[in-house]
């Protein structure tokens, strides 16, 4: 006991003293570092420039780059407190192997040997495809590129997918169908330069708050937000479209109908750069304003107003996130968005773009370099030419490159249930919180012969089930690049040493390749991530996502730059795809797609009368493995809640702060705090998905988009009852 403190002689004035930092100015003395390490934020895909303040080898503070082209001197609350994620009791610090039912500490060499042996043995017994790999959007591009080669060429399995399938796969599939390739065409700056912005299923204020400053800076826009919930973003809108759950596709078709019928389209653009207009025109006949009003619950007038504003805009921007993607009609809805842009020519110009705002810090990196849902450099498994190109670059036999994509994430889980996948490697993702319908997942994982989980944190609900836990270095402890939603590549740098014996994922992949005996073949001469980056530049050269002009030296000179950047070209402040109207299809024309609306799969019934919507809150990131370690974020958002309209609650005799269970045909979430609010429509309820303790994915539905394989997280039928009522 500190008696000086007890008496009051000491009031910790030293700890609470202030001083002047050369560039930050007057601030808490303990937050003034020895040096600053420039890097990029490791949470979402906005890609904010950030500096980590390091003092005595520890990260003590984070601050935004004032001059960064993305975040313009701002960070969201997660970024401002990101240094707290590094040091925690819940970091994974040593390899752990399950022995006699318990996870026991072992050395790295043993861990990697066991892993290689067990995976090889499984593949020998059940075929190479019996090994599945679930990766992430959280690694650096260099690691994705390295991992893709290791899985597909080293282990020889194509049953490899990422949690990105739970996130933006529908955007990828939609872009591929409409434009012939993945790749978001626009830039953040478009939000500032458009005169009409339509956000659909996108709650930027909670999920990408830093992008809101682009909207705030745009004084000449009309902002329309389509969301069944009166989200924080809906409150920013000039016009909020409170449409019925999952009626977005009907709305988009209805807008297209009006555009075509009232000749609000850019006929010259349609004729010059698209294919399929005649079919689309016929197809849209059935989406009359009367019918669309009925399907969406919006007035005909509102639908007309939206269509006219978009059709007459000089530069129309449509942004979307998970409200669109998390759907069994996700790909189709993305196509319908692209249809609007193509019909009006709102693409490839400043302010004009159909723009998917992605989730994770480097989801884009894995899309481009990953070798999971497509071959590196947006190449197609199905294209013999693409396979031959790659084989030539790598100097390997073409036959080693798979001719089709392996199982997607949900199909890997299904295959584990059916015991066709016998061993699984999960990297930097936490499906035991994030996967829809947890029962199926637990069932699948319990069937496995061997489960390896590689993560920065332990315990997580997923590492707790592992046979082998590999401790990984995280953001702030390793080097590489991230690519953000607007195709901007930024450097990620190491500020502090990894905790304990944790190693960077890159190191782990190379060491594992060594064990497998394929390091020399796959990664000849590689020692640093820059070696991987330089090979990736060659692989991407000449592709839509051309990185060949981007080097570490260039990034050190210019900061964050957008692809495509061909070798020798000078980086521009902002670049857009398809400015020339040439698309990545065989005939160079974008495709107008007929996309029919259908109701979401699980409609409410008498027994399950509510439509459950899921989403995020600004304080937390994904499954909260990181943000639960940040005291200020936990203080601001300590637990989950369920939003319900007071009119429904009155009927059920429930009050705010009551503890309720949410029940679906698949499971039950226990003891959620009820919030009565007019934010949510009668008949609907909303719950955030971050919280392992009250995991909404116990009840969500495992229904998937047929093309993207993305889950339908946003709507399922539930009932709400007082906790303990039927216990």
């Amino acid at each position: 006991m500190n008696w000086k403190r007890t008496l009051g002689l000491d009031n910790l004035s030293e700890e609470y003293s202030f001083a002047r930092d050369e560039s930050t100015g007057y601030t808490s003395a303990k937050k003034i570092p020895d040096h600053w390490v420039p890097t990029t934020c490791g949470y979402c895909s906005v890609g904010c420039g950030i500096e980590i303040g390091v003092k005595d080898g520890r990260a003590v503070t984070s601050r935004p780059f004032a001059a960064h082209p993305v975040n313009r001197g701002k960070l969201c609350p997660k970024g401002l407190s990101e240094h707290y994620t590094l040091e925690s009791e819940n970091r994974a610090t040593y390899p752990l192997l399950r022995q006699n039912g318990k996870l026991m500490r072992i050395g790295w060499d043993e861990a990697l040997s066991v892993m290689a042996e067990r995976f090889r043995a499984t593949q020998k017994a059940y075929g190479p495809e019996a090994l599945g790999v679930l990766s992430t959007g959280q690694l650096v591009t260099e690691e994705f590129y390295t991992l893709g080669k290791l899985v597909q060429l080293g282990f020889g399995t194509n049953n490899y997918d990422g949690n990105t399938t739970l996130c933006m796969a529908s955007a990828v599939s939609g872009y591929k169908v409409s434009f012939g390739s993945d790749g978001p065409p626009g830039a953040y700056e478009d939000m500032e330069r458009a005169d009409m912005v339509l956000l659909i299923g996108a709650n930027l204020a909670d999920n990408h708050p830093i992008l809101c400053q682009y909207l705030e800076a745009n004084r000449n826009k009309t902002l329309i937000v389509a969301d069944p919930r009166v989200s924080k973003t809906a409150m920013m809108a000039d016009i909020h479209l409170p449409l019925k759950p999952r009626s977005d596709l009907a709305l988009l078709n209805g807008i297209a109908h009006i555009l075509v019928r009232y000749n609000l389209i850019d006929r010259e653009y349609v004729d010059g750069h698209t294919a399929g207009f005649a079919e689309l025109e016929r197809f849209l006949d059935r989406y009359t304003p009367e019918r669309v009003a009925e399907l969406t619950g919006l007035s005909e007038e509102t639908i007309f107003k939206t269509a006219v504003l978009y059709g007459r805009a000089k530069a129309g921007f449509i942004g979307w996130t998970m409200g669109v993607n998390h759907s069994t009609l996700g790909t189709a809805t993305v196509n319908a968005i692209c249809n609007l842009a193509l019909l009006t020519g709102h693409i490839g110009r400043a302010g004009a773009s159909p723009f998917s705002i992605t989730g994770q810090c480097n989801a884009m990196g894995t899309r481009e370099a990953g070798f999971a849902s497509s071959l590196p450099g947006y190449r197609k498994f199905e294209s013999a030419q693409d396979r031959a190109d790659l084989a030539a670059i790598w100097g390997i036999d073409e036959s080693r490159i798979p001719i089709k994509r392996g199982l997607a994430y949900p199909d890997i889980v299904e295959a584990a249930v059916a015991k066709r996948i016998r061993a699984l490697w999960i990297i930097a993702t936490n499906p035991l919180v994030s996967y829809p319908n947890q029962d199926v997942l637990r069932n699948g994982l319990s069937n496995l012969d061997f489960l390896v989980v590689q993560d920065g944190y332990h315990p997580t609900p997923t590492t707790e089930l592992a046979d082998l836990v590999l401790p990984a270095a995280i953001w702030g402890e390793k080097e590489g690049t991230y690519t953000n939603s607007e195709r901007r590549v930024s450097k990620v740098n190491q500020a502090v040493a990894p905790q304990g014996e944790a190693r960077s994922d890159f190191d782990i992949f190379l060491a594992l390749a060594e064990k497998l005996g394929c390091r020399e073949e796959l990664y000849s001469g590689w020692t640093t991530v820059e070696d991987a980056f330089n090979e990736w530049r060659r692989v991407s050269q000449g592709r839509l996502c051309d990185y060949s002009g981007i080097s570490y030296a260039l990034l050190a000179e210019h900061g964050a730059v957008q692809w495509p950047l061909t070798e020798g070209a000078a980086p521009q402040r902002t670049s857009r795809l398809y400015s020339d109207g040439q698309f990545q299809t065989p005939d160079g024309r974008a495709k107008l797609v007929c996309t029919d609306w259908a109701p979401f799969p699980e409609q409410p019934t008498g027994h399950y009368p509510f439509v459950l919507n899921t989403g995020r809150t600004v304080e937390h990131w994904h499954t909260r493995t990181k943000t639960r370690e940040v005291p200020i974020l936990e203080r601001l958002s300590p637990r989950a809640w369920l939003e319900m309209n007071p009119r429904d609650a009155k009927r059920l005799g429930l009050r705010s702060h009551d503890s309720v269970d949410v029940v679906s045909r698949r499971g039950r979430v226990r003891a959620v705090e009820l919030r009565l609010t007019e934010i949510t429509a009668p008949g609907q309820v909303f719950m955030p998905f971050h919280f392992a303790e009250t995991n909404v994915n116990e009840v969500t539905q495992d229904a998937f988009d047929p093309i993207s394989r993305e889950p339908n997280y946003k709507q399922c039928a539930v009932r709400v009852e007082r906790s303990g009522a039927n216990a």
Binding site: T6, L7, G8, L9, N11, L12, S13, E15, Y16, F18, S23, G25, Y26, T27, S28, K31, W36, P38, E51, R63, A66, A67, P69, R72, G73, K74, L75, P77, L80, D206, P209, I210, C212, Q213, E216, V230, T233, M235, A556, E557, H558, G559, R573, V618, E619, I632, L633, R635, L636, S637, P638, R639, N645, R655, S656, R675, E678, I679, T680, A681
Partner: protein, 520 residues
């Protein structure tokens, strides 16, 4: 460039320096240029700085809260800037807005007025309400006084802390942390003419904020044009008990007992009922002394308790310390004179009584603050005096009659009965007042008393009725009267505990789900 606080890559001059070898050239950290978000001219006479909060711009991201904590090195549980939610209307015409508030740097700062050690100053140039952690003794009186929950007690340090508008940054030409962190530019510092603001401070009010009348908040708030009239707090159903402040519960009841006892002793002495008074006086004095000493345990920095005399001009807490010290002094003299049977005791006794009554009044006045509506009434005075009237006579009666075997006049017992009755009636009337009020904080107090505190509240009333009224009426001596005294003493402690925990302070709106309670 100055307008937005950022520069584009191609607008940044290239610089050659060692710093740039590690940081991308174009991303070199330049000083944030707050532009119009902080004043561009110096303050004139009769002006001060204030916050401007634009509710139409705020998106509720809470960057300001995190930035403030980092700026000031505060632990997560202390938030000098907080973001609340307000909501109104009906789906789909719902409005939800946020309220980001630091200190309002009031024209009549109630924290400053109440502070017994003058730890608060209102900066004569900037108008910023400053708090000195070195002067502060951690009495937390400012916490009770502020209608916005701004000063927050840091138990780790033993002192209070609060938003100082980052005035050191301002004087360097830098934006305060919250202003600089806001992605929407919703928070700004501006200059206000004090006299004009005093005449019309209507734009200091907003849904989710206590009335600016309490202390004339200077924060100007821009509200949405189309604000729905029923817009209000979303946290009103999350009301919990406040901190009990045990040393104060202990101290208040015992000093009041002691004051009541000395009144009785003085009267008995004047009436010539001298035997046994000395021991009773010494016992009462001892209780007062112990309780005054124990009350310093309430302070974050007990060693500096003596500083509490500094704020006599303004602070009822200083006056309480002074009057109760005088009471203890006068009571010692009176007791000494009793021991040596000196003449002129009635004057000393009278002084003791005067100081004691002033002490009880000062104690009560501490709690009569606008920021704690359930305390802000005459009931507080009645409650404290009733305790003195109940416990003082009964204590004397038990000691003289039961322990020392003396006889005393019956009015002593009846005085106690009167005290108990007054307390009982006052408590019931107060509850009626609370439960029928339309003021949220008052209603919420009554809901606490009839909700989670119901059993304790009923016990308290039953003890008053049985042990305070009934028993003294049926037994003037014997073990029953000892039991009655023990019960009412416990009952008054319980009552004072309820006094502290059942008050619902005024505060700014909080978020629906947060670790933050309604008040510190």
């Amino acid at each position: 460039m100055a307008e937005t606080g950022y520069v584009y890559l191609d607008e940044l001059p290239l610089m050659e320096s060692a710093l740039l070898s590690t940081t991308p050239r174009s991303l070199v950290q330049i000083k944030f240029e707050p532009g119009p978000l902080i004043p561009e001219r110096p303050l004139g006479a009769g002006e001060q700085y204030r916050f401007h909060f634009d509710m139409t711009k705020c998106i509720g991201c809470k960057c300001c809260v995190v930035a403030c904590n980092e700026q000031n090195g505060n632990p997560a549980a202390i938030n000098w800037r907080r973001v609340g939610e307000v909501e109104g209307g009906h789906y789909p015409n719902t409005q939800r807005h946020h309220l980001s508030m630091g200190c309002n740097h009031c024209l009549e700062p109630s924290c400053l007025i109440g502070c017994p050690v003058e730890a608060y100053t209102k900066d004569p140039i900037t108008g910023v309400v400053l708090h000195s952690a070195d002067t502060c003794i951690g009495c937390q009186y400012c916490v009770w006084n502020c209608s916005y929950g701004v000063p927050q007690y840091n138990a780790e340090r033993g002192v209070v802390g609060k938003c100082d508008m980052c005035h050191n940054r301002l004087s360097d030409g830098d934006a305060p942390a919250c202003v600089g962190a806001c992605p929407e530019g919703a928070i700004a510092i501006e200059i206000v003419n004090i006299a004009e603001w005093r005449r019309d401070y209507l734009s200091a009010d907003a849904p989710g904020l206590p009335s600016a009348d309490d202390s004339i908040s200077t924060t100007r708030i821009t509200l949405p044009d189309n604000l729905i009239p029923d817009t209000g707090r979303v946290d009103t159903q999350r009301v919990g008990p406040e901190h009990p402040h045990w040393p104060l519960v202990f101290m208040l009841v015992l000093t009041q007992l002691s004051v009541g006892a000395f009144v009785v002793l003085w009267l008995l002495d004047m009436l010539g009922r001298g035997t046994g008074l000395t021991i009773t006086a010494l016992a009462s004095l001892t209780l007062a002394g112990i309780s005054l000493g124990a009350s310093t345990l309430h302070l974050g920095r007990p060693i500096y308790a003596f500083r509490a005399l500094k704020g006599l001009r303004r602070s009822w807490l200083s006056r309480e310390v002074l009057t109760l010290s005088l009471f203890a002094g006068a009571a010692s003299v009176f007791a000494g004179m009793l021991i040596f049977n000196l003449p002129g005791r009635s004057v000393a006794g009278f002084c003791t009584v005067l100081a004691g009554l002033a002490g009880v009044t000062s104690s009560a006045r501490i709690y009569v603050v606008r920021a704690r509506p359930a305390w802000f009434s005459a009931y507080t005075l009645v409650e404290f005096y009733s305790t003195a009237l109940l416990l003082g006579p009964l204590f004397v009666q038990v000691l003289l009659v039961q322990i020392l075997g003396e006889t005393i006049p019956s009015w002593v017992g009846l005085a106690a009965v009167a005290g108990a009755s007054a307390q009982l009636i006052a408590q019931m009337l107060k509850f009626l007042w609370l439960s029928r009020s339309e003021v949220f904080e008052l209603r919420a107090s009554s809901l606490l008393l009839s909700g989670s505190l119901q059993n304790l509240f009923l016990t308290r009333l039953a003890v008053l009725a049985i042990a305070g009224v009934l028993l003294p009426l049926i037994a003037a001596r014997g073990w029953l009267i000892v039991v009655a005294f023990a019960l009412v003493l416990a009952g008054e402690w319980l009552g004072r505990y309820l006094f502290f925990v059942s008050v619902v302070p005024k505060n700014i709106a909080a978020a629906f789900t947060s670790g933050e309670r309604a008040a510190a």
